[in-house]
């Protein structure tokens, strides 16, 4: 019996049909077509499913719908403003910080959360924060460089 019928995603209230025990990831992917958030492990160990909930990184695969309520969800699809990419998206492109790129949306969302709470993280703060995100192709050094670059871009833009 579906008890949850609304979800606040990327600035819009969307109609859904979910139980409190359902995983946020599958509601996003299967009901709302927001497939930028990925399934990687189902136990919050790889970070491919990372979204922002009220600005903070959360693993959507282990986030139960019952805990979401009217909190604001941001997915990778909601990060750019129109055609203007978020600094992290631009920096990941500039640094070619991807190979298969299946981890990329989760990496960017985790990094967005990091930059929300710490506008100029040190390298070790980046490594610590990103430890929960797996890249199997091995683009980690480029990802770190991209996050550093995005932090600089944001500061330059006076954000």
């Amino acid at each position: 019996m579906a008890t949850i019928t609304q979800l606040n995603v990327n600035g819009t209230s969307r109609n859904i049909s979910a139980d409190s025990q359902d995983s946020l990831l599958f509601v996003l992917r299967d009901q709302l077509g927001l497939t930028g958030s990925k399934y990687g492990c189902g136990e919050g160990q790889c970070g491919a499913c990372t979204v922002l909930i009220d600005g903070t990184a959360r693993r959507s695969c282990i986030t139960r719908m019952g805990t979401v309520g009217d909190k604001k969800i941001t997915t990778i699809e909601g990060l750019a403003i129109g055609e203007r990419l978020h600094p992290l998206q631009q920096a990941f492109l500039d640094e070619a910080a991807m190979q298969c790129a299946y981890c990329t949306s989760g990496m960017i969302m985790s990094a967005a959360s990091l930059l929300n709470e710490n506008a100029s993280p040190s390298e070790s703060e980046i490594l610590n924060f990103m430890e929960g995100n797996v890249c199997r192709c091995g683009t980690h050094p480029r990802i770190v460089a991209a996050i550093q670059k995005a932090a600089k871009m944001q500061k330059g833009a006076g954000q």
Partner: protein, 724 residues
């Protein structure tokens, strides 16, 4: 006449999943092409040379069978100037879509954004054996360059005919032909208006030498990168079509289990659920993923399985269960490889060494687990799936459903990596079986646990080496036995007069198959660890010892380049520090790796603190893409070198989740410097695999240098370094 591919590469025996040959192959009608793409110029790349049967997957065809001419790629330039390239190769993160785009833009003299690649669609692209073996660059890059050059030639000839001038005064650039004398200029598009020109590619087309490359040879960002950073790209697991159901398979309790009884009644009562029980296959299709999970959980199945070996007795088991080499379908190096006399050489040697090395099973762990969406239209089947072998999956589907291959279309959206782990079509078959029963499209996406359990693993292995050496540090005898892991990279590149090298297949307790680098990782680990032991035995510096025993100049060059960058030979700066070096040659690539480690003797903690990898694979096509591959291979390799190992018992995987199977993470990764040697005078080879192969022995040798402890098993330190 048998069809002939133009690049003969043996299939290594450890590619167990590739043994079956496709029973049929059908030529695409060229007229269909112009119908699909409109008028223009179509270039077909004919594959030349012999051994079509091998190219199609290792098996044998009926002799005397007439086959259509093998075509390896198509290139079409339309009336609107758009360039469309068709290749059966697929993009799995190695950035081949980008580097092939570059190759075509270079030879055709068009802007990169004018080129569109259609990849891995069995209906639209020519047959391709698969994207593996580091062949996309040496084979497909070359073929597409030829196709693009041939198309460019046609445009020049058309313009020469139209203007009644000598073609030597015409120049192709930026999608136009220009008369250098009159400055008259025409777009390619205008030259082919209303025409349907076809040319089958001559093999001897001249190509621009690497020294004259303008587009290829430079770094080019991922051509569709924006789709990936915005979440827009649709991976196989993201595919969705109207009316689609979600599938779930009920798995056996253990490997090789047989079904004793099954009760599907409860599941069948759930509205909208279709249950399939067909032999050992049990699965459900339901309107949502949640409903599919619920229905699968409602099925009561009893399975029976026999006791099976565990990882604890694995290496004994592999040696005990060695089987004779299968002559059929085994196209690896001829074995045993023999030269000189081991016996005589061992007798006269001043030093003798005998050691055993082992390598555990590991999992590919592509971040995107296998996924397939299947749709039936009458007796025609379309499947979108993540695979490195769309044509191989087409064959599997045709065989599973007793239909012909021309009734099956497999499409491969750029996927979330493979590393050699996605060569087979089980997910596609599962989705298709459920879709046929449900009479609606069905998508099956494997969970991480399913991916860990029901895919296949990199073969485990036992390697025994017996060697002899003269007092001056010249290795004179080399006897080498590899049990189960495979033949890739098994031959030594050191100049040793007396050799015996043999591969012994075994009855593997787990399903095994290709993995990035194949057995070359295991063989390099054993060989380069052993060479290090010999160097220490001879009292020689490990680098000098290797150079002394080497004749291959390309390999010497990477060893020297790595050592120079690493500052090999410098004094240790810290207690617990150690340096190691290792290298080798595989699949056209030369790799030498230096590793620096830090060992804490009290806690047993081992940290890799620096890696330098020197790599040479001929002329570099895309330097940044290559750097990304070399660094990425070393990061992936850290897992197998240090801590990855599959634990299993009685047909069950015990650590098949990311919370139990440790992967390299941000904090594990040291600074990695890639030194790329660009040999513009040599043909380009692939680089997706061989850069991984020097790492594990370099780390093992560095740990020995730091601690005096010689580790002979991969992974080296799953639980830290035990020094007592």
């Amino acid at each position: 006449m048998t069809a002939k591919p133009n690049f003969e590469i043996p299939v290594e025996p450890e590619r167990y999943e590739l043994r079956e040959a496709p029973p049929y192959r059908f030529e695409t009608d060229r007229r269909e092409f112009f119908k699909y793409l409109g008028a223009g110029v179509l270039i077909l790349c004919a594959a030349k040379a012999a051994r079509g049967a091998q190219e199609s997957g290792g098996g044998q065809r009926h002799s005397g069978e007439a086959l259509p001419q093998e075509i390896s790629a198509w290139l079409h330039v339309g009336e609107d100037g758009s360039v469309t390239v068709f290749t059966g190769k697929v993009e799995v993160g190695q950035n081949i879509r980008t580097s092939l785009t570059q190759a075509v833009a270079e030879e055709l003299h068009v802007a990169v954004d004018k080129v569109q690649m259609v990849m891995g669609d069995t209906q639209l692209t020519p047959y391709d054996r698969g994207t593996f073996g580091s062949l996309s660059t040496p084979v497909m890059n070359l073929q597409l360059r030829r196709a693009a050059a041939a198309a460019c030639d046609i445009f020049i000839n058309l313009a020469a005919a139209q203007w009644q001038v000598d073609r030597t005064q015409l120049l192709a650039a930026d999608g136009r032909v220009t008369d250098q004398a009159t400055r008259k200029s025409v777009e390619y598009a205008a030259l082919v208006k209303g025409q349907q020109l076809t040319e089958t590619l001559p093999a001897e087309d001249p190509l621009a030498p690497a020294t004259e490359w303008t587009v290829a040879g430079k770094s080019l960002p991922k051509v569709d990168g924006r789709d990936f950073v915005t979440g827009k790209h649709q991976y196989p697991s993201d595919q969705k079509i109207p009316d689609m159901l979600y599938g779930k398979v009920v798995r056996p309790s253990a490997f090789n289990a047989t079904l004793v009884s099954v009760d599907t009644h409860a599941a069948e009562q759930i509205p909208g659920v279709t249950v399939v029980h067909d032999g050992n296959f049990i699965g459900v299709a339901a309107p949502s993923a949640t409903a599919a999970r619920t229905a699968a959980a409602a099925i009561r199945a009893d399975w029976k399985s026999d006791p099976q070996p565990s990882n604890k007795e694995l290496f004994e088991y592999l040696k005990k269960n060695a089987v004779p080499r299968d002559a059929e379908g085994d196209h690896g190096d001829p074995m045993p490889y023999h030269s000189g006399s081991i016996e005589t050489a061992m007798k006269s040697a001043d030093h003798h060494l005998q050691q055993t090395y082992t390598v555990a099973y590991i999992a590919h762990c592509p971040l995107e687990p296998r996924a397939a969406l299947a749709q039936w239209n009458g007796d025609r089947l379309t499947v979108w799936t993540g695979t490195q072998r769309p044509f191989g999956v087409r064959t599997e589907l045709a065989s599973a459903f007793h239909i012909s291959e021309d009734q099956v279309r497999v499409l491969m959206p750029d996927m979330g990596s493979g590393y050699g782990g996605k060569h087979t079509g089980e997910t596609a078959i599962e989705a298709a079986r459920l879709a046929r029963a449900a009479k609606r499209p069905v998508k099956v996406t494997w969970t991480r646990e399913e991916e860990f359990t029901w895919a296949y693993f990199r073969p485990a292995g036992v390697i025994e080496i017996t060697s002899g050496m003269s007092a001056d540090g010249t290795v004179t005898a080399w006897e080498y036995h590899n049990y189960n892991s495979g033949t890739a990279g098994i031959r030594t590149y050191y100049d040793i007069a007396n050799q015996k090298i043999e591969f012994h297949p075994s009855r593997s307790p787990l399903r095994q198959g290709s993995y990035r680098g194949l057995a070359a990782t295991a063989n390099h680990f054993a060989r380069e660890s052993h060479m290090d032991e010999l160097a220490h035995m001879a009292g020689r510096d490990p680098l000098a010892f290797r150079l002394h025993n080497l004749k291959d100049d390309r390999l010497k060059a990477v060893f020297k380049a790595a050592a120079q960058k690493f500052d090999w030979g410098r004094a240790k700066a810290l207690p617990g520090q150690g340096f190691g070096i290792a290298g080798g040659f595989d699949k056209g690539g030369y790799i030498a790796t230096c590793a620096e480690v830090s060992v804490d003797r009290a806690s047993g903690d081992v940290k890799v603190t620096r890696i330098v990898a020197a790599f040479e694979c001929g002329a570099i096509v895309n330097p940044d893409g290559l750097r990304n591959q070399v660094v990425g291979a070393n990061i992936m390799g850290l897992g197998g070198a240090l801590f990855e190992a599959i634990e299993f018992e009685n047909g069950q995987i015990l650590n098949g989740r990311f919370s139990k199977y440790r992967l390299p993470r941000f904090s594990d990764i040291p600074p990695i410097e890639a030194v790329l040697l660009d040999r513009k005078d040599l043909p380009s080879a692939g680089a997706g695999e061989s850069p991984i192969e020097g790492l594990a022995p370099a780390i093992g040798n560095a740990i020995f240098d730091a601690s005096g402890v010689r580790l002979r098993s991969m992974p080296l330190v799953p639980n830290g370094l035990k020094t007592t």
